[in-house]
């Protein structure tokens, strides 16, 4: 167990805060970051000067020092960034938990804010990004000249092979979208509040990159989300019941690429997620049976299925039955994406899902299933990724 430090349970999420989720925020990404961070601090009952650590995504445009200066935080003793797009989400809390557990910092805010819809849209692809020749950019030399340039297209390759090997169908992917939109329909914060879809709607939606329909893709969002991480003891003295970080982990698999790990012998699984799962269960001293709810990263529906398999909720190729049998519904074995996911609530690079997990262990989700002891949260799939397990204390 010693290799999976940081002292499981030493840290907790004490506060969450977000901006509204929109398609055109009308303000700067820095402003969104500040608003989200201040809202999270307010939720925790902390003031900016209490914060001495910040973690965000390498993809974020708001520098930690700038955020600290603008919000009046003063001194920072710990700051860090995590790469690989949405794969960073739980990784930010992993970094924060380690900082808190080791005493490197006392209160760390993890944040992510962008105008992803009204600004630079990921959905439009990498095709015309300016040319550099570092290894980071050179990786795209094998991809974009052939006309493969968006996340949806990259995921489509995995989806097609998964269908081929396991007999999964587009409807199997569609059920994930229907589920997320059903939860979003009853979540006033969700962009798709009041707008559920049917499987027929999914099937009728236009092709983006076969086998992906439009409704297999998450939305694009402007907004910000922040979470405050402090030690579990500290959290117990604050305003909200602590959501203890029972486990946090990052994972990059063998022969890992950025969304195009097509060169592994088998491309139907997500080995980096399998690695994260092993680490999480080890730290939390539990297994799939000890997990009461899940927030599964849903930028594209097809990769939700192998996540369930990598996390051990079902055998490889069996996830489509697990979903079709209703296990992800609020009354099911593993209520999932109760906020509506990134398909239904908002695409905040997974950070809004972690906030929902906090609400689930607090018992305050708008789609609260029943008593939720432990929630497992995953981050971006197809990329070096991360995950965490939250435990309630009530």
């Amino acid at each position: 167990m010693t290799r999976t430090a940081p002292r499981p349970g030493a840290a907790a999420v004490a506060g969450i805060g977000a901006t509204e989720f929109s398609k055109d925020s009308g303000r700067s990404e820095l402003s969104l970051a500040c608003e989200a961070v201040l809202a999270a601090l307010d939720d925790a009952g902390l003031e900016p000067p209490d914060v001495d650590g910040l973690v965000t995504f390498t993809a974020d445009t708001t520098p930690e020092a700038e955020l600290a200066r603008v919000t009046g935080m003063g001194e920072l003793a710990f700051f860090s960034r995590v790469g690989y797009g949405g794969g960073a989400a739980c990784g930010t809390l992993h970094q924060a938990a380690m900082a808190v557990a080791t005493g490197a910092a006392r209160a760390v805010v993890c944040y992510r804010a962008f105008n992803e819809r009204s600004g630079v849209r990921y959905g439009l692809g990498q095709a015309d990004r300016p040319l550099a020749t570092g290894a980071d950019r050179a990786a795209y030399s094998w991809i974009t000249p052939f006309g493969l340039s968006t996340p949806a297209q990259w995921v489509a390759m995995f989806a097609r092979r998964y269908m081929h090997e396991y007999g999964a169908t587009s409807e199997d992917f569609g059920r994930v979208a229907v589920l997320s939109r059903a939860r979003a329909a009853t979540n006033p914060r969700a962009w798709f509040h009041g707008r559920p879809i049917t499987l027929a709607d999914h099937q009728a939606s236009r092709w983006i990159a076969e086998p992906l329909h439009l409704l297999d893709c998450c939305q694009e969002t402007d907004g910000g989300q922040a979470l405050v991480v402090v030690s579990a003891e500290h959290a117990r003295t604050l305003r909200r019941p602590p959501a203890v970080l029972a486990a946090t982990a990052q994972g990059s698999g063998p022969d890992q690429h950025m969304m195009t790990s097509y060169y592994r012998p088998d491309i139907t699984g997500i080995p980096e997620m399998g690695l994260v799962a092993r680490r999480l269960y080890e730290q939390a001293r539990t297994g799939p049976d000890g997990i009461d709810a899940a927030i599964l990263y849903d930028h594209f529906t097809p990769l939700v299925l192998p996540q369930l398999e990598e996390l051990g909720f079902c055998a490889p190729g069996e996830a489509r039955h697990f979903v079709a049998d209703g296990h992800l519904e609020p009354g099911g074995r593993l209520p999932a994406n109760t906020h509506g996911g990134q398909i239904g609530e908002a695409y905040l690079h997974g950070m809004n899902g972690i906030a929902e997990a906090v609400r689930l262990v607090r018992g305050t989700s708008v789609n609260q299933p029943r008593e939720v002891g432990r929630v497992l949260v995953t981050a971006g799939t197809g990329v070096p990724t991360s995950g965490l397990v939250l435990e309630g204390e009530r």
Partner: protein, 322 residues
């Protein structure tokens, strides 16, 4: 075979043919379709928001020293317009056709009105029947303009009443110009590969129509995408082997969105298993989305995407290169 281009006609003969139009009347006078009348005056006055009462109110007109209502002066052109019917069927040549045709022949195919000066001699009253005659006053030498090289054509239109008395004259100037050719659209290029020290060999070989695979000199392991060192034995020494070009489709996607000008959609991209054992992202050509299957055999072909980019693409096995 002779030259596809006729020798250019001398500049002076073009000049001469245009000069022949100067002073000429363009066709017979064109008569108004209707006499000057109150309903048309009312339409005009209402449409243009003219508030002078002398156009519609007899008493106001007399108070202003007229015998009765008078048509707005600038309406003179309207009485002789061809009306709606001309927009549905081309009107018979009114005489300006020969000049327009000669200008077009010389490349001045576009037109824009530049100015119109009126001189009014008498106010028109209901019952007047107007006709107009147009005479070419001047055709300028070719001038460079913002729209392109062109000639200013000035005509004088004389409007007369039923007795042949001039009621107004109009000096009408247009620019007949050669529209500047828009810069030809550069052909859309495919996204550029970022060619660096680790991958240049592959793109250089592709330019010579050789699909190569990096091979570790020390342990013989093939690897793609390439890298500076062997993940199996950590050797930095490598060479390449040439792929046979035989492959099978491992997976594929049919791209419908977003549109990129270098690609015709839908566009098929595949991951293929090369016979040598490595995989490659590539395009599938010579087939249609509905015919592509995971596992289908495909064979290498070369795509000269643009002068700086040659890419290996694959086509169904049964289809031989032409």
């Amino acid at each position: 075979m002779g030259s596809p281009h006729e020798p250019h006609e001398s500049h002076s003969s073009q000049e001469e043919r245009l000069r022949a139009f100067v002073g000429r009347t363009l066709g017979p006078p064109r008569r108004a379709q209707d006499p000057v009348n109150l309903p048309m005056i009312r339409h005009w006055v209402e449409a243009l928001g003219v508030d002078n009462p002398v156009h519609l109110d007899e008493d106001a007109a007399r108070a202003a020293g007229r015998a009765g209502v008078v048509a707005p002066a600038t309406m003179v052109q309207a009485w002789t317009m061809r009306g709606y019917a001309a927009t549905q069927a081309p009107p018979p040549d009114d005489g300006s056709g020969a000049l327009v045709a000669e200008l077009a022949e010389q490349g001045y195919t576009s037109v824009v009105a530049t100015d119109s000066e009126f001189e009014f001699h008498r106010e028109l009253v209901p019952g007047d029947r107007v006709e107009v005659e147009e005479r070419v006053e001047r055709i300028s030498p070719e001038k460079a303009t913002a729209l392109g090289p062109g000639r200013f054509v000035t005509t004088v239109r004389t409007y007369r009443d039923a007795h042949g008395q001039a009621v107004a004259t109009q000096r009408w100037r247009t620019l007949r110009f050669r529209p500047r050719q828009p810069d030809p659209e550069p052909p859309a290029l495919r996204p550029r590969p970022a060619v660096n020290r680790d991958n240049a060999f592959w793109f250089e070989a592709a330019r010579e129509h050789r699909l190569v695979i990096q091979r570790c000199v020390s342990c013989g392991e093939l690897r793609h995408p390439p890298g500076p060192c062997c993940p199996h034995c950590r050797s930095f020494e490598w060479d390449t082997v040439q792929a046979s070009g035989d492959a099978h489709v491992h997976t594929f996607t049919v791209v419908h969105h977003p549109r990129h000008p270098a690609f015709d959609l839908p566009h098929i991209v595949a991951v293929v298993d090369l016979a040598e054992g490595t995989r490659l992202i590539t395009d599938l050509v010579g087939t249609a989305p509905e015919h592509v299957r995971v596992g289908m055999p495909v064979r290498l072909r070369w795509l000269e995407a643009d002068p700086d980019l040659t890419l290996p693409v694959f086509a169904p096995h049964e289809q031989e290169d032409p």
